[in-house]
């Protein structure tokens, strides 16, 4: 029943970071002139890096009063979790923005370890740290003037969707700024919004479909190389040169940025449509390329893939099927 002569009321937008590097927030700013379009169409009601609104103010907002929340960063501690829950309640549409919120991202690699292992390395074993009393940060500590509190550091890193219900996912580390504008327009107009749970702001193809490097459909590999072990000819597909590139197991949308910089893709855009686990997808692709039949020769070739878990799940360990290393 909208009357075209009456401008749409501005939507209420919130941006929040959990366990993040800040790159996702910067990517929102890097929409440059388009940022102004966004600001014109939206009232920013909460954005810690830019605005004067605090947790309590958000907690006091009516439920569902925020139209769109972009949550970036993984859930690493009790404060991240609390804010995820609050923002879920207050938001009509909650978007997991960026690789960390979507799949756990780089901080998610911490799921190879326990909290104790991390604390031990950082606070005890670190070569530059002197800590004979094995002091560890604690959630509540009494200093002579009073009590100081810090959030609880969880044993696991979680994706946003593992903590609260998420409406949409925007992949990327960080997401390509231009894509955000498209998604934004869809939310504002309500036109072209896919069903809940969809990945938006990315393509339905893989990075390989987008990549300009020369490739054939029949890749055969006798051994894998680490990037520095070969002289990249800067033209041929990395995989065909024997360098692992996550292109076939990665959703397009970034413009194959890294490959353009002569670096193999590491999969920050997450798995392509119809697959949920990037590593499973990659193992399946690589399996078909290995050019050997005898178990011994296959072993030798696989030996040259030095860190499959850390490579195939570089950005997605918490969101993968196994989720973390079994301790």
């Amino acid at each position: 029943m909208s009357d075209s002569s009456i401008p749409n009321p501005k939507i209420k937008l919130a941006v929040y970071w959990g366990s993040a590097c800040g790159g996702c927030c910067v990517s929102v700013l890097d929409t440059h002139e388009k940022l102004l379009d966004i600001v014109n169409a939206a009232d920013l009601v909460f954005w810690p890096i830019a605005m004067d609104i605090k947790y309590k103010d958000v907690e006091a907002m009516a439920d569902q009063s925020i139209d769109l929340t972009l949550f970036n960063g993984a859930v690493r501690n009790s404060e991240n979790k609390h804010m995820a829950e609050v923002l879920r309640k207050k938001s009509k549409v909650l978007v997991a923005y960026g690789a960390c919120a979507y799949m756990g991202g780089i901080p998610g690699l911490a799921n190879f370890h326990s909290r104790e292992e991390i604390f031990k390395r950082v606070y005890e074993e670190s070569e530059s740290t002197l800590n004979p009393d094995k002091v560890r940060p604690v959630e509540e500590f009494e200093v002579k003037e009073g009590v100081l509190k810090i959030p609880e550091f969880f044993n696991d890193v979680y994706t946003l969707n593992q903590v609260v219900d998420v409406d949409y996912f925007i992949p990327g580390c960080p997401p390509q700024s231009e894509r955000l504008v498209e998604v934004f327009t869809a939310v504002i107009t309500g036109i072209g919004l896919p069903p809940k749970g969809s990945v938006v702001g990315a393509l339905e193809k893989t990075n390989c479909d987008e990549c300009l490097r020369k490739k054939t459909d029949n890749k055969v590999i006798k051994r894998f190389y680490r990037p520095w072990e070969i002289e990249d000819d800067k033209e041929t597909c990395f995989l065909e040169q024997g360098v692992i590139c996550m292109g076939p197991a990665t959703r397009g949308g970034c413009g194959v940025r890294c490959v353009t910089g002569h670096s193999p893709c590491r999969g920050c855009y997450g798995p392509p449509p119809n697959s949920t686990d990037p590593g499973a997808k990659m193992m399946s692709s690589i399996g078909t390329m290995i050019d050997a039949d005898s178990p011994e020769e296959i072993d030798e070739i696989i030996e040259t893939i030095v860190d499959p878990a850390g490579l195939f799940y570089r950005f997605s360990l918490p969101g993968s099927i196994l989720g973390r290393k079994v301790l």
């Binding site: 970071w17 366990s19 590097c21 800040g22 790159g23 927030c25 910067v26 700013l29 890097d30 440059h32 810690p48 890096i49 830019a50 605005m51 004067d52 609104i53 605090k54 947790y55 690493r76 501690n77 404060e79 804010m83 991202g105 901080p107 690699l109 911490a110 190879f112 370890h113 991390i118 950082v122 606070y123 670190s126 070569e127 530059s128 740290t129 002197l130 002091v135 560890r136 940060p137 604690v138 500590f141 200093v143 009073g146 100081l148 810090i150 959030p151 960080p174 680490r226 520095w228 990249d232 940025r257 890294c258 353009t260 910089g261 002569h262 670096s263 030095v306 860190d307 850390g310 570089r314």
Partner: protein
């Protein structure tokens, strides 16, 4: 005991918290600056092939990813025992200078200028970059955005990915530039120099032209007498990409100068149970608590301390401005926290000049991009100056280059103790028995902190606005006596 909680701090939200404890008569007893976050890169980099680290560690910070990429790239070179060819080294440094230009411009205009150009106790609604633009003119606002964008374009071109750089490979870089691209960068660098000169002139006009501000810098509650750390070249000139770490004492005398791989002999870190971030200090002196002065082990690693620690700048205009700054501020070393802003502008000029030098260097378009790989050494340290302090990456690998251990001392971490102390001093100077605490008071406390450009505040560099603060005064039963909110 009553306390003031500055919590959460906008632009630090989820990443920092300030607690100010008051004495019964309303003075300041103590201040704690807490960092509630840890991600554990030191641990989860273990097991990865070392050449992957430069592109993993950029995710420590999306605001200064280039610094981590560089320190990491250098540590990886060392692990492989390689020295990159001249073209590769120069491309790295060129990228890095653009990174500095980008960051320093943003910090000055979005964070520092509002306090000086608009005024430290001005209406907070105007005390932001828009207020700055209102005072100095719209073209300048446009110019800030443009210069920042251009610096970013150079980074994207050389770095391969506009945020999380992927250029470094063991012993070199992955991608070179051609003549056409070089010519373009030369033009852009000339623009940086012009804009940097303009910026420092603006600072001088606005700040030095106002005795109130000069007093604030020199006599306000912002002085902190600590040792200074910074990276220097073999002439003891400031360098961001390479050199030795030099530390001078509170009087400006050299305490020591060390090579990256000797850092554990000179820096040690302390753990406090109330913060996830550690507190580095000078090992030879030892931890003497949160105290200033010649006997304290606490040091600063900031733009100002880099200038204090060096004998000068390696480029002409920056050298002139370096001399001018110390002459006006009463000679080296300077301990006025707010002079960090001025130092940052001197560094901006240096970065711009160095950017041009490198772009004009005949080697820059060379095609020899990396050194041939030999035998893996298995251990390496890489140190660069990040915008926010000396950045150290230290890796150990097995003979195949698989990471066994990682140790990191990140830029802002160096200043953790100093930030706590600056805040305490500012608070003690500004909050006294019977003084009325206004929004302006809070901003002036915050200025002590903002000078460090702390990296916890990630994306602050790009948007207007201040830290939001709330001050709650409670009586001994915990009832709220007074609440001041800054909006």
């Amino acid at each position: 005991m009553s306390k003031i909680t500055i919590d959460p701090i906008t632009r630090l939200e989820g990443h920092g918290k300030i607690e100010i404890f008051l004495t019964p008569d309303g003075g300041v007893e103590n201040v704690y600056f807490q960092v509630p976050e840890l991600r554990g890169f030191e641990k989860f980099c273990e097991g990865r092939p070392v050449e992957e680290l430069p592109s993993i560690v950029t995710k420590i910070c999306g605001v200064c990813p280039g610094c981590h990429h560089m320190a990491s790239g250098k540590a990886v070179d060392a692990v492989f025992g390689l020295t990159p060819p001249p073209t590769a080294l120069k491309l790295r440094e060129l990228f890095y200078m653009a990174h500095f230009v980008h960051s320093h411009i943003a910090h000055f205009y979005a964070l520092a200028a509002p306090d000086f150009v608009v005024g430290p106790t001005a209406n907070p609604a105007e005390r932001n970059i828009l207020g700055v633009i209102a005072k100095v003119g719209l073209e300048i606002g446009g110019e800030v955005i443009k210069q920042r964008r251009i610096a970013q374009e150079i980074q994207a071109l050389i770095g391969g990915h506009q945020t999380h750089v992927v250029m470094n490979t063991p012993g070199g870089v992955k991608k070179g530039i051609n003549e056409e691209q070089r010519d373009d960068i030369v033009k852009k660098a000339e623009g940086f120099i012009e804009f940097s000169k303009f910026s420092i002139q603006l600072f001088k006009d606005v700040v030095l032209g106002n005795t109130e501000y000069v007093d604030l810098i020199l006599k306000g509650p912002y002085a902190l007498k600590l040792h200074s750390m910074g990276l220097v070249d073999d002439q003891n000139k400031v360098n961001f990409y390479d050199g030795k770490v030099r530390v001078v004492d509170t009087e400006g005398k050299e305490l020591f100068k060390y090579s990256p791989n000797e850092y554990t002999d000179f820096v040690e870190e302390r753990v406090e149970p109330w913060s996830y971030l550690k507190f580095p200090y000078l090992k030879k002196i030892g931890w003497k608590g949160f105290v200033e002065g010649q006997d304290s082990g606490v040091y600063q690693a900031t733009p100002l301390s880099r200038l204090n620690a060096a004998d000068g700048m390696a480029t002409p205009v920056a050298q002139k401005e370096y001399d001018a700054m110390f002459a006006i501020l009463g000679g080296k070393p300077v301990h006025a926290t707010l002079a960090m802003h001025w130092a940052r502008l001197v560094e901006l000029i240096y970065s711009a000049e160095r950017c041009l030098e490198l772009a004009q260097d005949p080697d820059i378009t060379g095609t020899e991009l990396r050194a041939p790989i030999g035998k893996i050494v298995g251990e390496g340290v890489g140190i660069v100056e990040a915008q926010r302090g000396t950045l150290t990456h230290h890796y150990w690998t097995d003979e195949k280059g698989m990471v066994k251990k990682v140790n990191l001392i990140v830029g802002t971490t160096n200043n953790h103790a100093a930030i706590c102390m600056s805040l305490k001093k500012a608070a003690q100077g500004l909050i006294k028995k019977d003084t009325e605490i206004t929004e302006g008071t809070l901003n002036m406390i915050e200025m002590a902190f903002r000078a460090y450009d702390p990296c916890f505040s990630c994306a602050t560099h790009s948007l207007p606005g201040q830290m939001r603060m709330e001050l709650i005064l409670k009586d001994l039963e915990g009832n709220i006596i007074r609440k001041i909110k800054r909006r």
